[in-house]
Amino acid sequence: MKRREFIQQTAAASALIGLGGMGLTSFTSATKKITILHTNDVHSHIDAFGPDDGRNPNQGGVARRATLIEAIRKDNPNTLLLDAGDIFQGTPYFNYYGGELEFKLMSMLKYDVATIGNHDFDNGIDGLYAQLPHADFDFVSANYDFSNTIMDTHVKPYRIIVKDGIKIGIFGLGIMLEGLVDKKMYKETVYIDPTETSQEMTRILKEDKKCDLVICLSHLGYNYRNIPDRICDLKLAKTTKDIDLIIGGHTHTFLDKPTVVKNMEGKNMLVNQVGCYGINLGKIDFYFDSNKNKSANGTSIVV
């Protein structure tokens, strides 16, 4: 992957792409498309909000999300479904079933990977562990060291999934638990610096494992305007390299569109978050071409 530029719909950009297109027509060339779907902070919102809800009437609901995801998968089988944490807590379903229904439904929707949010410790680390048999998907977290807890070996730092020959590396990041979650809930879980962890992860995924795409599933939060020292997705994006997409959570941030951020090498990448409570589904399509000319002109980002 070459220099990546955020190309607005300008005449210059069209001309460059046109040139690449000329090369394409002369030789056999193949294209591939990977679709990344994502949710965050669903907080046990299994049912849609009712028609009388003051804020989000008739929004959300797992049964509707399932229909949408199925349609997208039908359109592109090379689709991944990810969640950025805080699956638990927010409706009586969690209080009654402890997260069983949330995990079972996510398994039915064929989620591939999720990371762990602070509220996923709300029934303690033992409560989270107890629900794992209901999850037919993987948890990733690279900066929580669970080795002295019951979750040891049940959470991987990253997962690599190959779709249509495209190698996708996904690593997870969790928020600092001290001061946010009671120690007796997270027990001996050790929080490790997210920036350093990301540098290690991108080295492994990009350099060692040669991933075509690197995705960070983060529960750090989008941005903390009043606490500039606190690590957040925007800051992580600017201070790291080789991450193509950060899918965030925690701050329940509703964005009009994904945010384009220049990483430490000046390359454009995306940070996205889709609010909360299953009101929205994020959809990021990555297009690949075997014709290098197309990418030599930079990856265009359309948001």
Partner: protein, 252 residues
């Protein structure tokens, strides 16, 4: 572009076509709203149904009967619903605290903003407890020195809000200034140490109740306020709390 460049381009294209290396050329990102224009997946809906039925049946199980409708807006310095909540915290938590420490809770302080719904006249259900207390906050008992208890009283005097209290008694004069504070008919002794039951949100500085920060220890009871209410409602048949004299302003 000269011929050398075109040749180079030709080589690159040919090479990449043979080895089938793929390059990321374009990224498109958007979000899709989950609205009622989407059809329900029947398979998912059928799977949720028994869970939903069980939760709803349980939430709607009747625990008590409310003789009136109670709102946190009914009263200036104390309200019937707030008094009920603070009293319930005392009654349900004190036996647990006593078993663990051999000590008694001296008084209870909650926050007015923490009463999240009214209790309507009629059946009181588990759903009522969820509506009044949707948050997961639980009871903590904080040991405070007299100086911090004085700060706590000052806070309540200045706030002039019906923050729920139990066992504590505060009287303001006709001008709204502090007149007296007592416990079980005795004036508060600011040289003494008191066991104050509250919730973990306030203990951690919620509603700027910063006086909890300087403390002589805390007992976490692992007892959610919502469960306090459910246990309290289960115990009683009729819910008929009243506004009383626990926090008042004297008239001229």
């Amino acid at each position: 572009m000269n011929y050398k460049h075109i040749f180079l381009l030709f080589c690159i294209v040919t090479f990449s076509a043979c080895t089938k290396t793929f390059y990321n050329t374009k990224i498109e990102g958007k979000q899709i709203n989950i609205s009622d224009s989407l059809e329900l997946s029947q398979q998912i809906e059928d799977f949720i149904k028994p869970y939903r039925a069980h939760v709803n049946k349980n939430l709607d199980s009747v625990l008590a009967y409310a003789v009136d409708t109670y709102s946190k807006r009914d009263g200036n310095y104390n309200t019937a619903i707030g008094n009920m909540m603070a009293d319930a915290v005392y009654e349900e938590s004190n036996p647990i605290f006593k078993t663990r420490t051999g000590d008694d809770i001296d008084f209870v302080l909650l926050n007015h903003g923490g009463i999240r719904a009214i209790i309507s006249k009629g059946n009181v259900t588990i759903r009522t407890a969820y509506e009044v207390m949707p948050f997961e906050n639980s009871v903590v008992v904080v040991k405070l020195k007299g100086a911090q208890v004085k700060e706590l009283i000052d806070y309540l005097v200045n706030a002039k809000r019906a923050h729920p209290i139990s066992k504590l008694n505060i009287v303001l004069d006709a001008e709204g200034r502090f007149k007296s504070a007592g416990l079980n008919g005795q004036p508060l002794d600011f040289d003494k140490t008191y066991n104050v039951a509250t919730n973990d949100y306030l203990y951690n500085g919620g509603d700027r109740m910063n006086f909890f920060q300087t403390n002589q220890g805390v007992q976490v009871l692992d007892y959610k306020i919502r469960n306090v209410l459910i246990d309290y409602f289960t115990k009683i048949d009729t819910l008929s709390p009243v506004r009383d004299n626990r926090f008042i302003q004297l008239k001229n």
